[in-house]
């Protein structure tokens, strides 16, 4: 049974690279090497392989995505091609199509391209998870709560806030970013490094500030995964106030509803 080939060591294949300026140039290079094959090229490519081979490859791609999703690291198309798809790159579109179908139909996860320029993918849950009173509680990550608070602050303040606003809010909740927290460890690192790497947050320097200041925005994963309507609902409960009274936020939450959270979308199948 072990004769079947699998991505045996995907980790070493693509160590989660820091998305910093230094490696960006090299990443571009990798990706240029792969050009998306045309439809006719795919057609011709498909004639040369068996149906089973295509399925096999897409199964490997599914596994690769699931593995990366455990750590919430986005998958780069270049890495996927280089380490998993390999010699079948000429039929890449067909493989990714089948992998996306399996992820959706079997796992209830949607494959989303968050960065069309650099071709980065993440998995987004199709099933409603907030308010999920599951009896076997998932090993709930306390960091989710921290993240939710920060996303709420950013959203309620109009989509972008200076870092001080976030730090002060956290301090009010007795989470001091300057101190080591029992649950989160180095809070500042979790927020500005881990959440940023996972694409939940964007953390950018504000130009021409002295001393240096940064601002927070929602990252692409948050846009795809987190329901703004849910956040507003939560804020309403917290402040005992009708969510509709925040007119701007309400409008945004309910207009972006379709493009972001599509919970239950797979239930019609």
């Amino acid at each position: 049974m072990s004769s079947r080939k699998r991505p045996s060591n995907p980790q070493s294949a693509s160590q989660p690279r820091r998305q910093t300026g230094g490696s960006a140039a090299q990443e571009e290079d990798d990706d240029v090497a792969f050009t998306q094959p045309s439809t006719s090229q795919v057609q011709r490519g498909l004639e040369k392989v068996t149906e089973a081979q295509v399925d096999q490859k897409s199964a490997e791609v599914v596994q690769y995505f699931l593995l990366k999703d455990q750590k919430k690291v986005p998958v780069r198309r270049a890495d996927l091609v280089k380490h998993v798809v390999k010699e079948h790159r000429n039929i890449y579109p067909e493989i990714i199509k089948r992998a996306a179908r399996t992820l959706d139909q079997v796992f209830g996860l949607k494959l989303v391209e968050i960065d069309p320029k650099n071709h980065m993918y993440i998995l987004v849950n199709n099933l409603e998870t907030s308010g999920d009173a599951s009896p076997t509680t998932r090993p709930t990550d306390p960091k989710r709560g921290l993240l939710f608070v920060i996303l709420s602050v950013i959203f309620m303040k109009g989509g972008v806030v200076r870092e001080n606003v976030v730090w002060n809010t956290l301090k009010k909740l007795r989470v001091d970013p300057g101190e080591k927290h029992d649950e989160f460890g180095d809070v500042k690192k979790v927020v500005t490094d881990e959440f940023v790497r996972q694409r939940y947050l964007e953390f950018q320097r504000i130009p021409h500030t002295e001393p240096v200041e940064h601002e927070f925005r929602w990252g692409q994963r948050a846009e795809a995964e987190v329901s703004k309507a849910k956040i507003l609902e939560f804020m309403g409960q917290l402040h005992d106030r009708d969510p509709q009274s925040w007119t701007q936020q309400y409008k945004e939450a309910h207009s972006s509803q379709n493009s972001s959270q599509q919970a239950g979308g797979s239930s019609q199948r």
Partner: protein, 244 residues
């Protein structure tokens, strides 16, 4: 198996992916929860069918939800396992080469041991004989914590055993790798680490501790089910399932 998966199946699978393993009672409750959340038909006695439907779709990915017994309390568990790399290579994404070497050594020792247990001293000693980059004492301790946290090992009072999930997942691998050494339970026919052994030298069958408890329950004079000799070990009590 032609039955289609619904969102109830998908939610069940997602929870299994997040947890790795759940006990039978937990699986039953989860089954009910998933069906009710998605207004799917719920048949309490059809859990295994429900899981079969998921498994039929998981098969192309060489994954499976597999059932097995905990050697510790004798209860049934469901674990999400990977079928192809049921070698430790499956762990390569989380552990360094030298850490895997130590884990393999620990497996060797556990399989070869009488009682399926390993003390932390034994582990530290075997870390001294590593061929790849040696691990420091503190690194070994850190690794053990991670292995317990990731549910590959269980720890009780400084003694380590293979976790239930590890045994369920690696059973085929262990059977092939350790053909001559591996013990098999006479009652349930699964591989056995923590077990009692018949003291009749011509017999020597093994029985899991929980299987012993169930098999001899209520018998005044326990005798070996194979050779009829007196069973000289202490008979453990049957551990009850936690109530609903």
């Amino acid at each position: 198996m032609s039955r289609q998966m619904g969102d109830s199946h998908r939610r069940f699978l997602q929870t299994m992916m997040a947890n790795g393993i759940i006990d039978e009672q937990g699986a039953k409750t989860l089954h009910q929860h998933c069906c009710q959340t998605h207004n799917a038909q719920y048949a309490p006695d059809r859990l295994d069918d429900f899981i079969d439907t998921i498994n039929s779709k998981l098969q192309p990915m060489f994954m499976q939800i597999r059932k097995g017994m905990s050697e510790d309390n004798g209860h049934q568990y469901y674990a999400l396992v990977n079928m192809v790399e049921n070698d430790v290579t499956r762990m390569t994404s989380d552990y360094a080469d030298n850490e895997l070497e130590l884990f393999r050594k620990m497996m060797d020792l556990i399989v070869g041991s009488e009682d399926g247990k390993l003390s932390s001293i034994d582990i530290l000693n075997s870390a001294d004989s590593m061929t790849t980059k040696k691990l420091k004492k503190s690194e070994v301790e850190h690794l053990l914590n991670r292995l317990v946290q990731d549910k590959w090992l269980s720890e009780k009072r400084g003694e380590y055993t293979l976790s239930t999930r590890c045994i369920i997942e690696m059973e085929p691998y262990i059977r092939t790798m350790y053909q001559d050494q591996v013990k098999v339970c006479h009652i349930c026919h699964a591989i056995a680490f923590q077990c009692q052994i018949c003291e009749n030298p011509t017999c020597g069958i093994k029985i899991h501790n929980p299987c012993v408890a169930r098999y001899f329950k209520g018998r005044t004079e326990p005798r070996c089910p194979a050779c009829e000799d007196f069973w000289p070990h202490e008979i453990p009590e049957v551990r009850r399932l936690r109530s609903q």
